[in-house]
């Protein structure tokens, strides 16, 4: 592999903002320059697989997103030690060590990878203890809710409605399910964490008196460890933070994720009907997942779909690339962007498809061959419609 190929692959696998991407690329480009052509192969050998490096950097940037909350404490939230906070601590704090100890090892790797609390290396158990410390000495405006299956009913639907707060959903650990919620709360905010008729609700109702833009102070998170059941609906709503849904059993109706300025990652999930993912300034990635209908909408970042099986997929962004890899789209694939390339790898052969691909200022490539800026082919049962203005479209078949 040459330096150019390495850098190209690195760049194409980075799912981060344009500016950040430029910084990263400059760093590694400079690094190669400094090492000199004679060390080029050695550097490539040390840096390893560009895709793996990119994944590492993606996670790093994603973790930043969720960390931003803690870095921007809100000034009028700094009142401390009030009686109210004493009370709220007593009433909301439950046995942390329990959940931590059970869940600790199993989720350590994944939690470390993407989001959660400071100093990940310690894993959930230690981190939970740490959180309590922070709380005691802290602003007095944070509320914790930690319930395990000892003190909550199982649920088959979940609705999370928060803001500036990362959300992570995964399956139970050794049959133990639970929720771990940490929210920054102002005096007139109302927090609801309940299970009613099989539905878990985690919600923060903001008080009416103020209109606040920006971050809400303190580090927050909502983590759900789902019971081993089949689900009806999971509806997750937040802003300015990442959402990760991974290794969740069967969902019958809907997985809906809404955030802005935060990435969405869905991995190893099976939904009978519909997955709907919406963010604005960050990336969406869906892997090892099946559903009937997949809708992914980002505006200023890329969408990656890998090892996904769906009847219909609609992927929409404007300033980012779209990639569909090793996926099976049964009836209809619609990918639309304006300033980014589209790369799709379709299962089967070209005769299975009806393809319409259009780009205005670049070319369409099919199996590596340039077909001009517009390409229409076939009368197959599966429809593929690819549209961009300033990016190349490449279509390949896995046979």
């Amino acid at each position: 592999m040459s330096k150019e190929v390495f850098l190209q692959q690195l760049e194409s696998c980075l799912l981060i903002g344009r500016e950040e991407k430029e910084e990263v690329m400059n760093y590694y480009r400079e690094y190669f320059e400094e090492a000199g052509p004679e060390n080029e192969q050695a550097v490539i050998g040390e840096l390893g697989d560009p895709a793996v490096l990119a994944e590492k950097l993606n996670r790093e940037f994603e973790a930043d997103m969720s960390e931003q909350n803690r870095e921007k404490p809100d000034m009028d939230d700094q009142t401390t030690g009030s009686e109210e906070s004493e009370n709220s601590r007593r009433s909301t704090y439950r046995d942390f060590s329990d959940l931590g100890a059970t869940i600790g090892d199993a989720v350590r790797a994944t939690v470390e990878a993407a989001m959660g609390v400071a100093d990940m290396a310690m894993g959930v158990a230690d981190a939970a203890i740490k959180e309590v410390d922070t709380f005691r000495g802290g602003s007095g405006q944070q509320k914790y809710y930690v319930y395990t299956n000892d003190d909550m009913e199982p649920f088959t639907s979940a609705v999370v409605d928060v803001s500036d707060c990362p959300i992570r959903v995964e399956r139970s650990v050794n049959g133990r399910f639970g929720v771990d919620v940490r929210l920054s709360v102002r005096p007139d905010d109302q927090v609801i964490v309940t299970v009613e008729n099989g539905m878990l609700t985690v919600k923060k109702n903001r008080g009416r008196r103020r209109l606040v833009f920006g971050f809400n102070g303190g580090s927050q998170h909502v983590k759900l460890y789902l019971p081993d059941l089949e689900y009806d609906r999971l509806v997750l709503d937040t802003s300015n933070a990442a959402v990760v849904v991974s290794d969740v059993g069967r969902i019958r109706e809907l997985l809906n994720v809404d955030t802005s300025n935060g990435s969405i990652k869905v991995e190893n999930v099976s939904v009978d009907d519909r997955i709907r993912l919406d963010t604005s300034n960050s990336s969406i990635s869906v892997r090892q997942t099946c559903c009937r209908r997949l809708e992914a909408d980002s505006s200023n970042s890329g969408i990656t779909v890998e090892q996904v099986s769906a009847l219909e997929a609609t992927l929409d962004t404007s300033n980012g690339g779209i990639k569909v890899k090793r996926s099976e789209i049964g009836e209809m694939l619609n990918a639309d962007t304006s300033n980014g390339g589209i790369e799709v790898e379709l299962s089967g052969s070209e005769s299975d498809y009806r393809i319409i691909a259009d780009t205005s200022n670049a070319k369409v490539y099919v199996n590596g061959r340039s077909m001009g800026s517009s390409y229409t082919s076939g009368y197959g049962r599966r429809n593929v419609r690819l549209d961009t203005s300033n990016g190349r479209i490449s279509i390949g078949f896995t046979g």
């Binding site: 400059n26 690094y31 400094e34 550097v43 590492k56």
Partner: protein, 106 residues
Amino acid sequence: MAFQIGAALLDACVLAILDKRDVYGYELTVDIKSVIEISESTLYPVLRRLQKDGCLVTYDRPYNGRNRRYYSITGQGREKLAQYRLDWETYKCGIDKMMKGAFDHE
């Protein structure tokens, strides 16, 4: 080497190098690699994080028709480094005690 360097320790090492002089990315990697085993890919996130935390700033200098990006420690970075040095002493003494068998079980 059986021991792995953690994030905080790596931060401390980077700051300690920057405390002496401004360096560019490659130079820094070479410096650190001369002492401990790290992968070339680990330093970028460290530098970025330190920059984000206000512990260092960057500037570009032209070199051979391109730019070299230099990293420079800030006052805040020095404060952080001082704290790291204290913590390190404590940590090192504790580990030394155990490793050298001087740990006293009454």
